[in-house]
């Protein structure tokens, strides 16, 4: 669940962001510090697979957008995680 590509996709789900904005967002919603190397590794992979696309940039800070397939992929990933979260939480309660 700390897969950086999933975190990036989740961060872009509510709108376009550039690198530093994604880092800040992830820190806020997941409590995780993504280093620049890790973040750009994830961005490279996601763009190569067509899940995100780069937008035109005014300066060196380039924003990224979730594509339709990226959205579908994120959806599928989250749905796969959902039963694990649900069952795990329930079992912890009954333990």
């Amino acid at each position: 669940m700390t897969d950086p590509t999933l975190l990036v996709l989740a961060s872009l789900a509510d709108g376009d962001k550039h690198g530093y904005a994604i880092m800040a967002d992830v820190r806020e919603f997941a409590g995780l510090d993504l280093g620049p190397g890790t973040l750009y590794g994830a961005i490279t992979r996601l763009e190569a697979r067509g899940f995100i696309k780069a937008l035109a940039a005014d300066d060196r800070r380039r924003p990224y957008r979730l594509t339709v397939t990226g959205r579908q992929h994120l959806q599928a990933q989250l749905e796969a995680l959902e039963p694990i979260v649900r069952v795990g939480t329930r079992r912890l309660k009954h333990a």
Binding site: P36, G37, G41
Partner: protein, 870 residues
């Protein structure tokens, strides 16, 4: 951004930095410097290198894995083909191409002679030629003689026979071989009458002398004579095909040398810059003057010497190592190269079919802007990955094959234990794998990296004119496979016919697996008197007769096909030669009563030797039937005729004629042979001579009984406890050795032909199956309109058979030319043997028919509804 952070960012691949570099730097500036960030960025750079380098590889693997049947077929085909090529190349490289392990080997030459007026074929070196060349040749740095010899070492436990090499004092220095310990032979060691000395191999020094440096100066009893150990050879010393345990000085006595007796091998080192031609001319210049330097033996004349037409033969020394194996190895290399071609054609075909199956996917990629270069890179990458992986597997196969070849030791291949899959073999294997990979991808790239986009997208795989071109290319590849498979099949069939023909030859012995042979030498130091030696041999023979299970035993100087080759001119009474003329040389053997009977030869006329012929002063001889026919017109006519091995000395009466012996191997004509009793009176002028080394042939049912050898040993040692039994083997082993090269060629050619046939059949199957798949709708419609299954099948059969017939015709044309290369290895079979061609046509045609019929039959078995819907 700090300089060291900039440095870390620079660690990313250049292509990546061009796209993301600015953004990453901006992010690092926003995030602020720190060692955590530095570590993270450095790790990211490393991962990016890995991803970019191996990312495409992973994609290739994924794509190949998506078509497992294709990938596996191509992989196995190529691995077998590359493995066979790597194996044979390692032999060619290790045996033929590697230089001799001596300093400046290009200047080392073998020196022999020819004398067309005396005998056909090569002649070795005489003492008189050696001394003349050493004294007067201007082109040679030095010349040395060598002679293989067996030596018996006693006084260190059980007597042991070791491999020996007798050399003159110049031999080691001209090879630039130094003693690892002690010293080499000097001119003084090589002079007759000087102190007896010996050099030992490093191996023998370790094994028998305890690797003790104090062994130098100690004494070693060789052939009953105490010799001082003066030096140890360097580790791994090997001379041509020989790995001697001991080196002895040859010690020729110049004072007694006469013209004649060519019994030594010679090597020489050319002076720098001297060519073979110049050396040849230099030595040839010295030949006419030799009778002025050395006396001519009585009975011979200057005219006879001139009539010999003696001439030197100076050749690169490495030729003496190859013998006749180079022809065989090149033929096998040719065969596996053909196998490689067929495998490549087949796999190229598979790639074409697969690329076409993926045509639409590729066209979509192009439409999405992938670019022809990227498509080409993808196709090439897949082909290379497959061929290089096959190459790696092929190397493993080759290693296994090499172990097998070493275990069999075929055909007297020299330096076999030194053959390795060394860097040269690796480079060769990698090279052919890469070339094959490029070849596979060429046709698919040419077609699909620049497709007519709209057509490819529209087309759904049936009946376009473009499809026709594709089919033609595939047809051509399949035809080529059939043609090459046919060539290899004809080659195998010819070798098989040769093998069968050889089995029918009566070699001059029967049931060789029941005859054990071993050698016993009685050195002069053990028994000096020739008559006593003859008696000792007879006593040993009687002792062996008494060993349980021995049916018969006899002695001879050489059994059939053991490679011994003693020849001398044979003078015949009645047909006495005109003055100044030499009679032809003949193979000579020395034997005793019972030999022909023991090995299963027969006495055709007259009688066998008796023991009185050996011990007494009778002058008798036995000759082979073919010699009797040649000299006297028949076996009966030969009896009572007289022969002698020199122009003077007593005549010897022919008392018997025996069946022919194929002494030079079953593929050679039976050798005319003269047999003498193994002790001779007056052979050399007024002297009694005896064969000290004799081969004992023992016919027994206990050949495989491990206890037998011990009992034989006891029987020998009861006569003299210092005599070792050596070279123990059956007559079958001797026979197998003489045909080993042929067997090896047969096996490799057979394997190459079999694999080619199979690969070709798979290719044919693939093409027809593809055509069938393409035309399923048409088949369905035809059948719906009432065509019978047979009719439809015939349609496809006809199409396949046209391909096969074209391939056969092309193959036959190539085979007619190519099989000539084999003719030197064929026996009683013409290279145009019709039976071989018919066999090849039958085998190939039969398998091809099955390969075509299977998919053709499948075409008519699919339910109609499915076909029409599909």
């Amino acid at each position: 951004m700090t300089w060291w952070m900039q440095f870390i960012v620079r660690l990313y691949p250049r292509a990546w930095r061009q796209r993301y570099g600015d953004e990453l730097e901006a992010l690092i500036e926003d995030a602020g410097p720190g060692w955590r960030v530095a570590v993270d960025v450095a790790r990211g750079a490393a991962m990016m290198h890995l991803t970019m380098r191996f990312g495409p590889l992973r994609q290739h693997v994924r794509r190949l894995a998506a078509t497992p049947a294709f990938a596996l077929t191509a992989f196995v085909t190529m691995a077998v083909a590359i493995g066979a090529n790597a194996l044979i190349f390692s032999l060619v490289n290790g045996v033929l191409l590697r230089p001799l392990p001596f300093e400046d080997p290009d200047r080392l030459v073998g020196v022999s002679h020819v004398a067309p007026g005396f005998m056909p074929g090569p002649l070795k070196q005489g003492a008189f030629t050696y001394f003349t060349y050493r004294d007067a040749a201007e082109t040679l740095e030095d010349i040395g003689l060598w002679m293989e010899t067996a030596a018996t070492i006693t006084g260190r436990g059980e007597p042991e026979e070791v491999r020996g090499l007798a050399v003159t004092d110049g031999t080691l220095p001209l090879l630039r071989v130094q003693a690892a310990l002690g010293r080499r032979f000097t001119a003084e060691d090589d002079a007759p009458g000087s102190r007896d000395t010996v050099m030992v191999s490093h191996r023998y020094w370790q094994r028998a002398l305890g690797a003790d440096p104090r062994a130098i100066g100690q004494s070693l009893v060789v052939d009953g004579r105490a010799r001082e150990v003066i030096g140890v050879l360097p580790p791994g010393f090997r001379f041509l095909r020989h790995s001697p345990d001991v080196l002895l000085p040859l010690r020729l006595n110049r004072a007694t040398v006469q013209i004649g007796l060519f019994r030594y091998d010679a090597i020489a080192r050319l002076k720098p810059g001297v060519t073979l031609e110049r050396a040849h001319a230099d030595l040839a210049r010295l030949i006419p003057g030799m009778p002025d330097r050395f006396p001519i033996p009585t009975g011979f004349s200057r005219e006879m010497y001139d009539a010999f037409r003696l001439a030197p033969d100076v050749h690169p020394l490495i030729q003496d190592l190859f013998g006749n194996v180079s022809g065989m190895l090149w033929i096998l290399f040719g065969a596996v190269a053909l196998l490689m071609l067929v495998a490549c054609a087949n796999v190229a075909n598979l790639f074409l079919v697969r690329a076409e199956a993926q045509r639409q996917a590729l066209a979509v990629q192009l439409a999405l802007g992938a670019g022809p270069a990227r498509i080409a890179a993808q196709l090439l990458g897949e082909a290379l990955l497959l061929s290089v992986a096959s190459g790696a597997a092929g190397l493993l196969l080759a290693q296994g094959g090499l172990e097998a070849v070493r275990a069999i030791g075929p055909g007297g291949l020299p330096r076999l234990d030194e053959v390795r899959l060394d860097p040269a073999v690796m480079a060769f294997t990698f090279g052919i794998a890469v070339i094959a990979g490029v070849l596979f991808s060429l046709a698919p790239i040419a077609r699909h990296a620049r497709p007519n986009l709209s057509e490819a997208l529209k087309e759904n795989g049936r009946g376009s004119s473009d499809g026709l071109t594709r089919t033609r290319l595939r047809n051509a590849l399949v035809t080529a496979q059939v043609a090459i498979a046919f060539v290899l099949l004809v080659g195998s069939a010819l070798m098989m016919r040769t093998f069968l023909a050889i089995r029918d030859v009566d070699p001059g012995f029967r049931d060789p697996e029941g005859v054990l042979t071993l050698r016993i030498t009685i050195p002069e130091a053990a028994i000096a008197d020739p008559a006593a030696v003859a008696l000792a041999h007879e006593r040993i023979l009687r002792g062996i007769e008494d060993v349980g299970g021995v049916q018969a035993v006899a002695v001879t100087s050489s059994v059939a096909m053991d490679g011994a080759n003693r020849r001398d001119p044979l003078f015949v009474d009645r047909r006495d030669q005109a003055q100044g003329q030499m009679p032809p040389v003949r193979r000579m053997k020395w034997t005793a009563p019972g030999y022909f009977d023991t090995v299963g030869n027969r006495v055709v006329a007259g009688r066998d030797f008796e023991w009185d012929d050996v011990h007494g002063p009778r002058h008798v001889a036995i000759i082979s039937e073919n010699l009797a026919r040649e000299l006297f017109g028949g076996a009966a006519e030969a009896l009572g005729q007289r022969l002698r091995p020199s122009p003077n000395g007593p005549w010897r009466e022919i008392v018997g004629v025996t069946g022919d012996e194929h002494d030079d191997g079953p593929m050679r004509p039976a050798t005319p042979i003269v047999y003498w009793p193994f002790m001779q009176h007056g052979f050399a002028p007024s002297r009694t001579t005896v064969e000290r080394t004799l081969v004992y042939a023992i016919r027994t049912a206990r050949v495989n009984d491990p206890a037998l050898l011990g009992e034989l040993q006891q029987a020998v040692w009861a006569v003299n406890p210092t005599l070792p039994l050596t070279r123990v083997e059956t007559l079958r082993d001797v026979y197998a050795r003489s045909t080993a090269q042929l067997s090896f060629t047969l096996v490799i050619l057979g394997v190459a032909a079999g694999v080619t046939l199979l690969v070709g059949a798979v290719g044919l199957y693939g093409v027809i199956a593809y055509v069938v798949a393409q035309r399923r709708r048409e088949v369905g419609i035809r059948m719906a309109l009432g065509a019978g299954a047979g009719q439809v099948q015939r349609l496809f059969l006809a199409r396949g058979l046209v391909l096969v017939a074209t391939g056969l015709v092309a193959g036959a044309a190539i085979a007619v030319v190519a099989s000539r290369a084999l003719s030197a290895m064929l026996f009683e079979v013409s290279s145009l043997d019709p039976a071989a061609y018919v066999a090849a046509i039958t085998a190939l045609g039969g398998l091809a028919f099955v390969a075509i019929w299977l998919p053709a039959r499948a075409a008519t078995r699919v339910p109609l509804g499915i076909v029409l819907r599909g």
